[in-house]
Assembly symmetry: D2
Amino acid sequence: MSSAVTAQAPAVPPRIGRLRPGPRDAITDVAGIAVGHATLADGPIQTGVTVILPHDGDPFRERVPAAVHVLNGFGKSFGLLQLEELGVIETPIALTNTFSVPAVAAAQIRATIAANPKCGRSLPSVNPLVLECNDGILNDIQALVIGDDHYRAAIAAAGPSVPQGAVGAGRGMSCFGVKGGIGTASRIAALANGAMATVGALVLANFGRPDQLIVAGQSWGERLAERLRGGRRGEEADGPEKGSIIMVLATDAALDSRQLRRLAARAGAGLARTGSVYGHGSGDIALAISTAYRLPLDRLAEMPAVRFVADGLLDPLFQAAADAVEQAILNALWAAEAVTGRDGNRRRPLLDLLPELESHP
Amino acid sequence: MSSAVTAQAPAVPPRIGRLRPGPRDAITDVAGIAVGHATLADGPIQTGVTVILPHDGDPFRERVPAAVHVLNGFGKSFGLLQLEELGVIETPIALTNTFSVPAVAAAQIRATIAANPKCGRSLPSVNPLVLECNDGILNDIQALVIGDDHYRAAIAAAGPSVPQGAVGAGRGMSCFGVKGGIGTASRIAALANGAMATVGALVLANFGRPDQLIVAGQSWGERLAERLRGGRRGEEADGPEKGSIIMVLATDAALDSRQLRRLAARAGAGLARTGSVYGHGSGDIALAISTAYRLPLDRLAEMPAVRFVADGLLDPLFQAAADAVEQAILNALWAAEAVTGRDGNRRRPLLDLLPELESHP
Amino acid sequence: MSSAVTAQAPAVPPRIGRLRPGPRDAITDVAGIAVGHATLADGPIQTGVTVILPHDGDPFRERVPAAVHVLNGFGKSFGLLQLEELGVIETPIALTNTFSVPAVAAAQIRATIAANPKCGRSLPSVNPLVLECNDGILNDIQALVIGDDHYRAAIAAAGPSVPQGAVGAGRGMSCFGVKGGIGTASRIAALANGAMATVGALVLANFGRPDQLIVAGQSWGERLAERLRGGRRGEEADGPEKGSIIMVLATDAALDSRQLRRLAARAGAGLARTGSVYGHGSGDIALAISTAYRLPLDRLAEMPAVRFVADGLLDPLFQAAADAVEQAILNALWAAEAVTGRDGNRRRPLLDLLPELESHP
Amino acid sequence: MSSAVTAQAPAVPPRIGRLRPGPRDAITDVAGIAVGHATLADGPIQTGVTVILPHDGDPFRERVPAAVHVLNGFGKSFGLLQLEELGVIETPIALTNTFSVPAVAAAQIRATIAANPKCGRSLPSVNPLVLECNDGILNDIQALVIGDDHYRAAIAAAGPSVPQGAVGAGRGMSCFGVKGGIGTASRIAALANGAMATVGALVLANFGRPDQLIVAGQSWGERLAERLRGGRRGEEADGPEKGSIIMVLATDAALDSRQLRRLAARAGAGLARTGSVYGHGSGDIALAISTAYRLPLDRLAEMPAVRFVADGLLDPLFQAAADAVEQAILNALWAAEAVTGRDGNRRRPLLDLLPELESHP
């Protein structure tokens, strides 16, 4: 049955909301954004690295504005402290498994030094930015296999096309008891002053108990939990949530870090609509960046003159953020393939367990 | 048609979630909590005051732990600064219209002085706690009619039974273009260690654009907006959201202020499921209190020895908070009656516009 | 002896730091800022209102960027919630006694409605902004005498000249057991890119135990406490701190609200150098605004194109903020006259008790 | 001259404040706390690791309450996100150089897995906790030499005696243009209810421009900057601050995480009194823990019944925190020896440049 699902014309999830997606329905619809994965899939090693590049320049020298909204801070991210103080990112945004955050942060330090030999000496030290979920069910997370090479490979692979599902940092992730991972989506917002803006989302989805699942407003959780209870070895139907979700938003609208924090907070609305109540053990974190302007590292360089979007115009962007996040989560669930990893633990795609969702939309 | 709706056996909204409500399905299922309203309904004056009492003692002398989570800070609440620093409330929680916050805060000061003549002299000054929504569509908010009497009347009326809908502070509130107001609900949570706890919610619902409405997962917004567009004089179908929602949670579980902040944050999940994306102009604020213990005003008095709930046990409380808030919003919409106020502005009950919801659940 | 102090050429406090003050050594050295007081001094009534106007236009229609930093949130300020969300102020900044916050907030609402009749209807409701200290030792704070008239009188009196000491909201304030009140100062900062900027401070000083006092680095607290212990009726040498301090910073540098929050945080350094450790019962709050640009109420109006100061250039502004706050506190202490108020309670000027400070600098 | 300073009876810094220190004048006066260093001093490698253990058990299984206060978030610490959410620490507190944070975090992960083989699988993942300053002037920070061994060596060396100065993470640190590093101090606070409590501080001092230095209230900055300007090769008198300070507070008073955050904030008062205005590029972070009770990892284990200190009793603890931090900074400056590191860069002890400070107290 599973093969039937993935073989022919792939099933597509319901379309969320009334806003129009961009041409790729991906975070890369925000011009300049690139996404790359490095995926490790070998027996008990089911993990990886995903990077999101804000532009094709050096992010250490040309910073973009950024903000974070922490829905639930049960997480081990690196770099949020300085991001909150200065309102910028200085590296690509990197995603990986919980115990590999140090390795990826070290890789970012090395990459920044390689490009900026005075970093940490006459230039300021770089602020690595790594977010994570725990893929310890499918992946032997204690093996600590991620290293510099995987970060560099993800950077080298970055481009406008975004593979979804069990790829990159999403390789070993679980979501609602089925296979989670990487999902992306975008929405076009029309502002009251006639301007248009794109909001893109990319999620690393590793959250949710089976019985919580809501798809496009409909509660499928009971049915999913029941089928998992009667399920195969290596699956779980119950137990506390031990997952997390990282939600990255990007927009081409000219927002400052305060406004980006407001935008990031709306990721929580999209997340809630898939069934999450931001469980205790779930590191639920939303990050938002704008590509509309860049801030120079050199404090004596001329600053850009920026005309920000008025706060009174933000509502369509807020709707776009919530809808894109909800859509990106569904896209992750629909795109994921079955993965068997550590100790025979196994996660199937959602449609394997709920095939009736294929014809649902 | 409207009369048909309200006359016979009243329609009840869908039941949200799988947790069981308390005996009243109200915030007063948390033992000791009392709620009172003072309602003004006279032509262009459609407003009021609602109070929530944490216990039947003097809240200035026996404080209860509290926390706030601000989803969107477009609001004029009074008292949150000190609440965040000290983690307690010192007065009943009062709700009213935006421009009457000062009057109700002054009433709280006078009431506290009356009961504690040294307040502000040898005793500390009291921290009033007043939250608000803007009822300026139906109510002549500029008239500033609320005064001490209305606050005292609401206190005098307080008890375990909670009238819902267009009462108290909810008298003039709008929600999704129809009549909003006061709603309440509760849920019983079973913790993993065998303990039971109650979470109650009371909302002052004044938020949402018609086209955003979701009821129990189903999107009714398009249909509602369409019917309002073809609607009566004094109604609005479109335009930016100018509302707000105040969500008060209470629990008998022994939580400290850090944990109560975590609980309050889950109100945002329940709110999102009704269609909100926490609009720019909407003051969306969640407050949470615990009745499990009290903290004495006198710094030399013995402090209680408290055994808090472990954070790892909080998930059922988080689910209860989200579900109770979503339920309370629906209860407010179902309980509201039609109100015509300032300049003939008018809000009908939701079921007037969407009668098919009567038989929906 | 006291008369000798105030009669002849007035003593001046030590000059703090190495930065140059502006021409007035006052917050009004920031062009456009005006300050006004209304003072009530009649037996047990020793209180008032102070206002700070950001410019001579309508602050509701032309907002200026703002931020708050809360050192210790034991305080009853009104308006900080929305200020933090939107990063602007919409009214003059008003200071008064703790229990009169509601009256002054109501006065601000009335004044805004008078100038903008659609406020709270088709225009958004206004966010009053009132900060406070408790003058309950000298003033009969329970009498609640402040009203609309006093707010309007303070506005009418506003100008570039800033009376200091026991005036306006400072009338009944105590500081280190002696007479506190209003103080102001300014500093000129030279940035590394050659630009100049002014930082002004105005404080409402009502904090500190006598034994904590530090003047320009020298600890005078022990001596002050000793002399107060041997002092006159109506004075206090010991006991817990029950005061507060409000510190308002203004600058003509183009900072956004994130940067203004950073600037406001440096007020804490200046405050600490006078002996404060931000006592439990002291509401220690710093507010910062920039006059470099204005943000229109109308969301469809064109936004200004702003070239912000680079964060890497902020250090001289941070030094100016700390120094101006420390100086403003000393200025308040030096300017204060003796006040006898409620129940014969009495506060003398600092120099009455420590006359050796006259010749100190 | 330098040798004269360190040879004979070592000079001691002025005693700060009027509170009594504990027997060691060290953070280890808080019973159970242990401190260990691993120091690397070899030509251009001048760096290390310092650890603070909350008790002699497994901190992953027996957590202690904790909080952080960020004075200026220009820093790359690891672990603060979850610390803020859950209010506990799960590992020893580790300090090192900026670019070695990942290596030390990885070492903490490995150490926790070694002691708890199910960590990250059926047990939650561990939250590493590493704070840092940039020692890139004296140390070849780009060499990334710190590894697991150094972390384990620091743990193995931990005990109640605390070497100060150019040791552990302090080896390569600079402060006010002279040699900084590790300092510690403690103060005994008498509460109004008769109880006694100890507050200890340990700082990693790497902040301050020479001209800012204040010692016990007296400004020595101008003189210090002047002497450095006429100084030796490899020293700097001017330029922007590029340092940071980490301030760790510990107490045996029963405080919850909210109260510990309040305590941590008072570190900023002590820091300000040494001349800092929390410079833009300085990561100024204060952490506070209580050893009065422990929270079990196992969510089904019985929670302790805790009787917290009333907030109204905290003032002596606040004073102790501010004084201990100021003292610890002076202790670091007095204890530091001369270090010559990368590229001949050099930092002398403060007393080498200001020998008049020897006889100052």
